[in-house]
Amino acid sequence: MSRRTMLMLAALGGLALGPALTASAQDASAGDKQQAQSPVEQGKAIAMDRRKGNCTACHQVPGVEFHGDIAPPLVAMKERFPDRDRLRTQIYDATELNPTSVMPPFGKHRILSEDEIDKVLEWVMTL
């Protein structure tokens, strides 16, 4: 199966196991860590990190107060990007889709690693 499918199954598996482990573990913080380590949560952390994604420098994101008004708000992402690969390309190198785009090429210029982009993608798709 494709790398993406494997990744999605692993993500789903992690999400499924998370609550179960929390229930059995005595230490609540370990369970919190398990939750925080879901790809969606990790993706959000990468996106909010000013040295990494720093997405709110340009994009409005639900629930975040300080943001730029450079680019379209991140909302209705599944409707706007029914093709996940297209959204991944937008993050990896936006100039592939729009040569005059001001969005930094997060993948092509290695601002984020492939793994980090995958996680950010997971999170963005929930918006």
């Binding site: 943001h67 730029g68 008004d69 729009n98």
Partner: protein, 303 residues
């Protein structure tokens, strides 16, 4: 919340801001930069772009940087209040003091310049035909000190690294520009060398750079009037350098325009060019020319 955001999405699309669907840039944009334009045509197109984008803003107002733009009226209010007792005043006073301080040979800085240094800064940077180089105010001030045996730190310091020396030079340069406050910028491109420097500056301004892949025009033409990350307003390129040397609120000191260029380059994760090197000299000449006709407002406060 989602409804509000969807409305904002529709708004940005309507404004023609580049979106994931590749909407066109504001009309007339392609007319600004053409390979075979004369500098005058390029500048006319540049001015026309901003006149079209911000119809309420008069040409002269652009000399006030980001505060000229109606969308930044709250920043303007704070700026106007700060200019009552400008935080740069101490630095400017020190610059004036240095300007008036005698060299070992009894002369002062005024002796190196036409008209004792008054009402001449509007011609800087200029092309020196004899030395075949662009000369900035900082360079002429350094040479003046050197030739008169005044061994100030900025004469020999690495200005990119030695902040103290650079700031002393910036304060002196600020006073130099203050002596020409209000003069309309007038850059002479009649010589071949000047034209070449202009072209070099132009190509720097309109080229993508750095890990973040931005060109100057992205923020200061396309996105002028927008904000980064909340609290980082983007000024129009028209009007750039009129207020420099300037004091940014965060920096709490007067700084050279080349320092601003260097930090801007760092912000887009590009390696900065050298202070007073060919590249930033060319960029400064380009920006000054493009702000031609606007009054000098240096020094001033900036965000």
């Amino acid at each position: 919340m989602k409804g509000l955001l969807l409305t904002a999405l529709a708004g940005t699309c309507a404004l023609g801001v580049a979106t994931s669907t590749g909407t066109a840039l504001p009309s007339g944009y392609d007319e600004i930069y053409k390979a075979d334009q004369t500098p005058e045509e390029h500048r006319d197109a540049f001015r026309a772009y901003f006149k079209d984008k911000f119809p309420e803003v008069t040409m002269e107002e652009y000399a006030n940087g980001l505060y000229a733009l109606p969308v930044f009226s709250s920043y303007r209010q704070e700026w106007e209040e700060s200019m009552d007792f400008p935080p740069y005043q101490d630095g400017l006073d020190r610059g004036q003091q240095l300007w008036e301080t005698e060299f070992p040979n009894g002369k002062t800085f005024a002796s190196c310049f036409d008209n004792e240094g008054k009402n001449i800064a509007q011609r800087y940077p200029y092309w020196d035909e004899e030395r075949q180089q662009v000369r900035t105010a900082e360079m002429d001030l350094i040479d003046c000190a050197k030739e008169n045996g005044a061994d100030y730190p900025f004469v020999s310091a690495d200005l990119g690294k030695d902040q103290k020396a650079r700031v002393q030079l910036a304060e002196l340069t600020a006073h130099f520009y203050d002596l020409s406050r209000g003069q309309p910028i007038d850059i002479d491109l009649s010589k071949e060398g000047a034209k070449k420097a202009f072209e070099k500056g132009r190509s720097i301004y309109w080229s993508r750079r750095g890990q973040l892949n931005f060109a100057c025009y992205h923020c200061h033409v396309d996105l002028s009037g927008n904000n980064f990350g909340g609290g980082q307003p983007l000024s129009a390129g028209l009007g750039h350098t009129t207020a420099w040397p300037a004091q940014r609120i965060d920096w709490a000191r007067i700084e050279t325009i080349h320092q601003r260029y260097a930090t801007c380059f760092s912000q887009v994760r590009a390696k900065p060019y050298k202070h007073m090197g060919e590249e930033y000299n060319a960029l400064e000449l380009y920006e000054k020319y493009m702000s031609g006709g606007l009054p000098l407002t240096a020094p001033s406060m900036r965000n």
